[in-house]
Amino acid sequence: MLEISNLKVKVEDKEILKGVDLTINEGEVLALMGPNGSGKSSFASTIIGNPKYEVSDGKISFKGEDLLKMTPDERANIGIYMAFQYPVAVPGVTVREMLLTALRAKNKEIVVSALDLKKTVEMEAEKLHLDQELLGRSLNDGFSGGEKKKMEILQMRVLKPKLLILDEIDSGLDIDALATIARNVAEMVKKSKMSVLVITHYQRVLNYLTPDKVAVMKDGLIVEQGGSEIVERLEKSGYQTND
């Protein structure tokens, strides 16, 4: 589904990714772990097309299409979605308005009813134990860390992507919220064979969202790949075992 080969990325002439190879299959949960500053989040930003990250070499293909030729909205509209680590506030815009515009941009033929969307959003908010009052407020404006993360998952549930990237989803979340989010993600994996790239520094999130594969990134390179046994080892001895 997502195939990455020899990916080299620069930010302001500094090389951040130095030749990354990685593959995620349909319906697969892949955990990308690594210490802070190893390039994990840069990797996620590159996949969604953040123009700050300049690709100097390599390929990213998604379902056979060359992602590097696409703008962020085009990437979104073929099924890529990232739950941001720090979702930005959009004053004066509610999540409903944003999703309605996004759905209409994605599918120009199908008429998206604002009323149906309102119901869907309310239902998803309930499943996520997200305060309904937030749905009528400016998106992410003054939300707590947990509320922001839940709102990211809510949008994902409505937009139904084929690949979900969770960028440090567990930062600032309590156990209950993390479990709720993981349950909602796992349901999508099961129901629609969504693939998930879980980017995390800690193993905690992986207790709730079991990965099929684990990859470890260090200094802009994938240094290890395997199964969940890697998570256990990292938990015991930390990243220094890879030094």
Partner: protein, 472 residues
């Protein structure tokens, strides 16, 4: 942030896209000489059969107009050729009482600017200004029974000279400023609204203004009086056809808000981009009265407008909510003035401006709290959004505080649409121009929600049209 694959759209040709920008053929029964002298003023006054005192006011104002220099502290007024302007135009049709009597060509224009027959029932009263005369006006019987007066200033002067004489020029005096003096000298048309004590006008009173003749100066004069405990919302919306030479619009609006009365005055200004819009608007607010200006400035070449509230009675409240859009070749120089004269008066100014394609938005405002205005509070928020590196925004706030126990808050934020916001919305599937429009509309939302639905929709549409036509 620029995306390589972003489709480059050609600039929208404004002459084609501006759907109201067509000139209608209207007969004028009187079209005076270009330029202004005492004779022209005497002509205007005698043609209108005005009382002597009004002619005297006009002539006195003309002297003040001549004595004052053209203001240079604001926008560039040098393209205005005052000597080339027609100061009075009288359409061949005179004011009509019912829709059936209105000539077809005029009706067509009203259809074009969106005063359809079907809406008339909804509107408490519709007055459209066609150049210098009001050619059509209607007022619901129920309002008339309550004693509400809503008619053109010209008619008001004929029918209710004593009320006009009592209030005319009391809030904006003859010598206030050059443009207000010019208006006083040559005013024609405008609305007169009188709401008796404790009468609440449920639906907004609407007036559509339009400039139709090339180089026609429009100098309408509006006077609103809300007696004790009265409540009224007046709306003016503007559109003008596309003519090449600069046209001048210099209106004066005076509002009197008596004890515990409430007045809202909403303006949607969408003059064509060759119009110079230099307006003086001021309200006098008595004890526990409330005045609220809602002002949307989207069109014109240059707008200079600073609606004011003189908070004269204890507990009086003044509010200003404004948005300004400065696009290519536009300068929106707008703001507000809040003058606190009495204790426990409160005021709030929320000003939002957007500049794009080389446009310039200026906030110019003043809060003055006089000695004796104990416990006065004022809050000023002026936010500017600059959409590209060619555009400009300036903020000139002035605070004059002469009392100790007062609270003044001031926030000013100049921002650009952040790259993070664009990326975030694009990563949800919104194309770049839609993402940008969404941030802009969100920025304007705090003001838009205070504007009646139909106007908010129209303003949103205009903003989106401006956004679409841009390359960014």
């Amino acid at each position: 942030m620029r995306y390589a694959k972003k489709p480059i759209k050609p600039e929208v040709n404004i002459d084609e896209s501006y759907k109201l920008g067509r000139r209608d053929d209207i007969e004028y029964s009187y079209k005076g000489e270009r330029g202004l002298d005492e004779k022209t003023i005497r002509n205007i006054s005698s043609m209108k059969n005005e009382p002597e005192w009004m002619l005297e006011k006009r002539l006195a104002a003309y002297k003040v107009y001549l004595s004052k220099p053209i203001p240079t502290w604001g926008g560039d007024m040098t393209p205005i050729h005052f000597e080339d302007i027609y100061y009075y135009l009288k359409p061949a049709v005179t004011e009509k009482k019912s829709w059936e009597d209105v000539p077809a060509s005029v009706k067509e224009t009203f259809e074009k600017i969106g005063v359809p027959q079907a809406e008339r029932e909804m509107l408490a009263g519709v007055k459209g200004q066609y150049d210098s005369e009001v050619v059509y006006g209607s007022l619901k019987k129920t309002l008339a029974q309550k004693g509400v007066l809503f008619l053109s200033m010209d008619e008001a002067l004929k029918q209710y000279p004593e009320i006009v004489k009592k209030y005319f020029g009391t809030i904006v005096p003859v010598g206030d400023n050059k443009l207000a003096a010019l208006n006083t000298a040559v005013w024609s048309g405008g609305s007169f609204v009188y709401v008796p004590a404790n009468v609440s006008v449920g639906l907004p009173l609407q007036a559509y203004f339009r400039i139709n003749s090339e180089r026609a100066g429009q100098f309408e004069r509006t006077l609103i009086i809300a007696e004790e405990g009265a409540n009224v919302h007046y709306i003016e919306g503007c559109s003008a056809p596309s003519f090449s030479s600069a046209s001048l619009h210099a209106a004066v609006v005076e509002v009197i808000v008596k004890k515990k009365a409430k007045v809202q005055y909403t303006t949607v200004q969408n003059w064509y981009k060759n119009i110079y819009n230099l307006v003086t608007k001021r309200a006098w607010v008595e004890e526990k009265g409330e005045m609220r200006w809602v002002d949307g400035n989207l069109g014109s070449a240059l707008t200079m407008k600073y609606p004011s509230c003189i908070l004269a009675g204890e507990g009086a409240k003044g509010e200003m909510l404004s948005i300004a859009w400065a696009g290519k070749d536009q300068h929106q120089d707008t703001g507000a003035k809040m003058i606190h004269l009495a204790p426990n008066t409160t005021s709030q100014i929320i000003s939002k401006s957007i500049s794009k394609n080389g446009g310039r938005a200026t906030y110019r405002g003043m809060v003055r709290i006089n000695k004796g205005a104990h416990g006065a509070r004022s809050k000023v928020v002026c936010d500017a959004l600059i959409l590209d590196e060619f555009s400009r925004s300036d903020t000139y706030p002035v605070n004059k505080i002469f009392e100790e126990d007062v609270i003044l808050e001031h926030e000013a934020v100049v921002s650009r649409v952040s790259e993070e916001q664009l990326l975030y919305l694009m990563s949800r599937g919104l194309p770049e121009h839609e993402a940008e429009a969404m941030v802009v509309n969100g920025f304007l939302e705090p003001v838009m929600r205070e504007v009646p639905m139909e106007y908010a929709v129209e303003m949103n549409r205009l903003v989106n049209l401006e956004m679409e036509g841009s390359v960014g």
